[in-house]
């Protein structure tokens, strides 16, 4: 049976998140977006509303809801401020990872802190020498006494300006490929860890930067899951953050399209509102169509995850396509605004620069298409 409606509870939740996002986040988006400063106060308010622990069970202080519900929150927050939607995705990722791979002690320690917003987790996979081919990483974690010693460098990592801890990936077996990668919990203030911030064209509040690790000692209890299973862990969690990224971009594009619709009705040229010209209204119609299809794809992928069904293919479809059509929709929304769209006093160019990040972050379109073809054609047709 096909049922494409959200539950009554989910609808009410969407309304609540929208009310919060439109009153508390939307008005300050543009001003915050220009600064390389994490929106800590906004993050705190979101945690208060339970948005950082949506999929975390109630026993750890979370809301105990499903992935579709996280999607709703992400979409609504991003419609107001895409940068503020990050901690929901990260909270969801952390929650999922601890529930599946964490020890009971790790769950006790971390999950309540994630729901309260005290812990903000970053994810450090990419290195200066490798991104798409993450298994080629050089950072090592070698056993020493009752712990590990980390050495190496991570690059292009979000939240370097505000994370309290990182899921950090390093090789416990440097000779092995993907199977040599393990996942560790590394506190931001670990001795030997230093950071630097990049200056980006968008998503500035998210503080993308680098982590240098020099003889960083961590206890054995910092290992997440099993040794050598780190790559597996991150790929499994990416299956869902890829969808959330889709909804982040879609929410942002939705805001831009709504602005364009309002503007097209108001702005007059040649004696009538520009919305009367099909060169304008068809653009709106086309983007609205694509965005509707994208939204269905995203929620279907989350629904599959909630059902415990495979969704690797669908997640990668969301990841390559939705950020792309969102950027295109914002681009046209900007053009519909004429010269005003080009001004940095309007949020259109800012939204466009922000969503561009997500055609790269969490895996490029090419990498997603490799995954989709693998799922469709079979492993034997992988290029390597």
């Amino acid at each position: 049976m096909l049922n494409l409606s959200f539950s009554e509870d989910q609808e009410l939740f969407r309304q609540m998140v929208r009310e919060f996002a439109q009153t508390e986040l939307a008005p300050g988006y543009l001003e915050r977006a220009k600064r390389e400063e994490a929106p800590r106060e906004e993050f705190r308010k979101m945690a208060e509303l339970g948005l950082t622990g949506i999929n975390i069970p109630e026993e750890y202080g979370g809301q105990g809801a499903d992935y579709v519900t996280i999607g709703i929150a992400i979409e609504e927050i991003a419609r107001a401020d895409i940068n503020c939607s990050y901690p929901i995705a990260v909270g969801g990722l952390g929650g999922g990872a601890f529930l599946k791979h964490g020890t009971p002690e790790q769950r006790e320690t971390w999950l309540p802190k994630i729901t309260r917003g005290e812990t903000l987790l970053g994810l450090a996979l990419t290195e200066p020498g490798c991104g798409s081919d993450a298994a080629a990483m050089k950072t090592t974690a070698l056993r020493e006494g009752d712990g590990y010693v980390l050495n190496g460098e991570k690059s292009s990592i979000s939240f370097v300006n505000c994370a309290t801890d990182f899921f950090l990936f390093a090789k416990t077996d440097p000779k092995a490929g993907a199977r040599g990668v393990s996942c560790f919990l590394v506190p931001m203030d670990a001795p030997g860890l230093t950071t630097s911030i990049f200056h980006d064209m968008g998503c500035k509040p998210i503080g993308r930067g680098a982590l240098a690790l020099k003889e960083v000692h961590i206890p054995a209890s910092s290992l997440m899951g099993q040794e050598g299973r780190g790559f597996h862990l991150v790929m499994e969690e990416f299956d869902y953050t890829k969808v959330l990224i889709g909804l982040m971009c879609l929410g942002t594009a939705q805001a831009a399209l709504e602005d364009a619709i309002a503007y097209a009705k108001e702005r007059k040229a040649f004696g009538k509102p520009i919305a009367r010209f099909e060169g304008v209204s068809f653009l709106i119609a086309e983007h609205a169509t694509r965005m509707e299809a994208a939204r269905l794809l995203c929620y279907q992928a989350l629904w599959l995850r909630d059902q415990g069904k495979p969704h690797t293919k669908e997640a990668s479809m969301c990841k390559w396509w939705v950020p792309k059509i969102s950027a295109e929709a914002i681009h046209d929304a900007l053009l519909i605004h004429g010269h005003l769209g080009y001004s940095d006093e309007y949020p259109l160019e800012q939204r466009w620069r922000d969503v561009l990040a997500f055609q790269i972050a969490d895996g490029t379109a090419q990498i997603q298409k490799i995954i989709i073809s693998r799922e469709i054609l079979g492993r034997e047709y992988l290029p390597y």
Binding site: E8, Q15, M16, G50, I54, A65
Partner: protein, 261 residues
Amino acid sequence: MPEMIVCFKEVVDERELKVNPKTQELMTEGITRKISDFDLNAIEEAIRIKEMHGGRATGVIVGLPECKPSIKKALSMGLDRACLLSDPAFAGSDTLTVAAILAAAIRKLGPFDMILCGEASTDGFSAQLGPSLAERLDLPQITAASQVTIEGNQVVAERSLDDGIEVVEASFPVLLSVTKEINKPRLATLKQILAASKKEVLEWKAADLGLSTDAVGLQGSPIVLKRVAAFRMERKNIRLEGTLAEAAERAIRELLREGVL
């Protein structure tokens, strides 16, 4: 531990209202419905009192069966239960009649210490209902409350008036209508939304309240709403020419003619 009743109303979201340019009438079809703004303040205040002093808060609403999402929202915020008063016979009720329906339901609900209303609804904005209800139930009433404190079975309230603040007190049972300044209504968390599904919603019709259908709705209402229309605001496009003195002279004449001066 006060037993509280909160009267709240569902209204159309005025931000979405459009005016039919031909008839000047409001186009309300398909518009999002919401809980009237000040009523959110009344609900919030009841929840705050409950958090400080315990007790119970019951929401009461005269509305269409379609107002269930608003009831769910009120319960998610923290009301303990709700009572929907809905009957096709209620259609066309004026303020007097809505007050009669509410009074009958409140009597049926049993003893209470406080009734909280919004100061005025976002749509009708008559600010009549609270006072009318208080009269029917023979209660002291404190209108325009911008701050409320409970001490034992006494209520101390600040009233925002045009020229100052008045502090008044009354003992239970009492009716209060609250202003926007009194608090900032909370947003429910997902957990609260899920919990709200399990809360009790009573549904009563005219017969359940012992009201005859003649006494409610259009038949029972002395006031009949004939038409709701928006003001037409148009510029007169009058240009005042001549010297400054002449123009000023003419401006005064025009303003006198319009009855502005």
